[in-house]
Amino acid sequence: MSTQLSGPDPSVAEHAGWQQPQPRKGFFTDTSICIGCKACEVACKEWNGVPDDGFNLLGSSFDNTGALGASTWRHVAFIEQRDDRGDFRWLMESDVCKHCTHAACLDVCPTGALFRTEFGTVVVQDDICNGCGYCVPACPFGVIDRRIGEKDTKNVGLAQKCTLCYDRLHDGMTPACAQACPTESIQFGDLDELRERAAARLSTLHDAGVEDARLYGHDPNDGIGGAGAMFLLLDEPEVYGLPPDPVVTTRELPAMWKKAGIAALAFAVGAVASFVGSKA
């Protein structure tokens, strides 16, 4: 077992204790060819039996889903932009859980319900989770959430998020969203290969003069040790609602425990001093 809290980790499943880890699986979502059809959202709901999260009109272009959450495991963002010359462009991006190399949700989970699979992905075990909700504020991307709903809603009260279709992976199948994507904006595969594919696509776009193109989540040296789900974006990450420089909170945990230890010591010394100086 590994206690590595940050930095690159090429054998994340092995360090989680898997004796025969599979090649790490992931997504490469190329937003430059997303057409905003939301087939990924629908396919995900259908395959995983994810309940509805309200039928609202949000007034945010074609996005009436809002954000990733307990009952939204793929979310298509729509951004309408007009530049100084009045030219219009439409950005569309299908967002998903990043399946971080160093996943804060997994680190802070007190029950072990969140675990690292043999494919290097991060999955909630519904029969273990007790809905403590700690993973929710831990995630630097705001992905995971505790499901709310009526008493008979599936998995109500539990933390829920994308499983990268863990059940389908066992049968050698492609996750539902990638399977349904009509433009191959969502690509699924071995992470190493996806990284190469993403780099190649980036240079193709740069050569074609698309200077705005950039990769997100591809770098193992970033604050989360690289994502299992990376993206090709056409603007700054925050435009899409993504954090520009996410860092796994547990990277700082040793320093936090140290301060807490000193504070605990101060408390103990203060308590003893309260008695030592007092007359009985």
Partner: protein, 327 residues
Amino acid sequence: MTVVSRRRRRGGEQPMVPEAEFTSYYGRPVVKPTPWGPAIPAYMFFGGVAAGSAVLGAGADLTRRLALRRVGRLGALGAITLGFVALVDDLGRPTRFGNMLRVAKPTSPMSMGTWILTVFGPSAGLAGAAELRHLLPRRLDWLARLLGTFARPAGIASAVTAPGIATYTAVLLADTATPAWHEARLGLPFVFAGSAGSASGGLGMLATPLAEAGPARRMALGGAVLELAAQRRMEAGMGLAAEPLRQGRAGALMRTGKALTLAGAAGTLVASRHRQLAMAAGAALLAGSALARFAIFEAGQASARDPKYTVVPQRERLDQEQAHRVG
């Protein structure tokens, strides 16, 4: 068709410091606020009261202050019971609380806290129950004797784990992506340790006769000074994330809490002579500690709801790195 403005600006009052310009997706949060309700800051307050009370109870036991011992032990029992109920009630599936005991994970402050609590809770409970053993019917004399035998070791066990109870909740909040909590990570354990001392000392002053309340007064004063000083230092080191601690509901709670703690601490200085003054000061310290916990909780929630606190510092960090690389 509307065009999304690239830079979100706020109207209304003119701030003294220009608003940081940043981009967001329809102003929606980047990180999620925790689904925790007011039960969690309440637990953190009760945990602090319980920790300090356990220490006062054990100290009073060893120095033969029977009235302070009773207040300390019963205070610890009552506060940790209330805190525990609040904690379990806030779970999405309260009946699955036991799953917390499947694993022991140093990377999860909640897991570590649960294990500290499994030592602290029963031992504080035993010591507290021993204070009530005279209420047992005669046919349970054997139980009363048993409680009497184990009261001291149990009380000491609770006091030894108390510093952990008083401080781990700070790490629990700080070990998140919630900006106002994570940026408070180096100071928060001291604030919580001080808050625990101040609140439990306050309870001791409130409920113990003047003659025996000396240690409670000292604990209260030391705790209040630590809490206020650590808060000041913490806020100074938080950058933009300190803002929610000064604004809105969290800001109002924080200011009231600080004023009450300050008043309580001042009252402590003269509380050795007037019982009523001691009681008022103790109540003020308890209230001040509770309000500070709720303020810090609320500030975190506010900082998660506004994407500014997530995006602006990260963007600045990236820009600095880039400037460094170019320069």
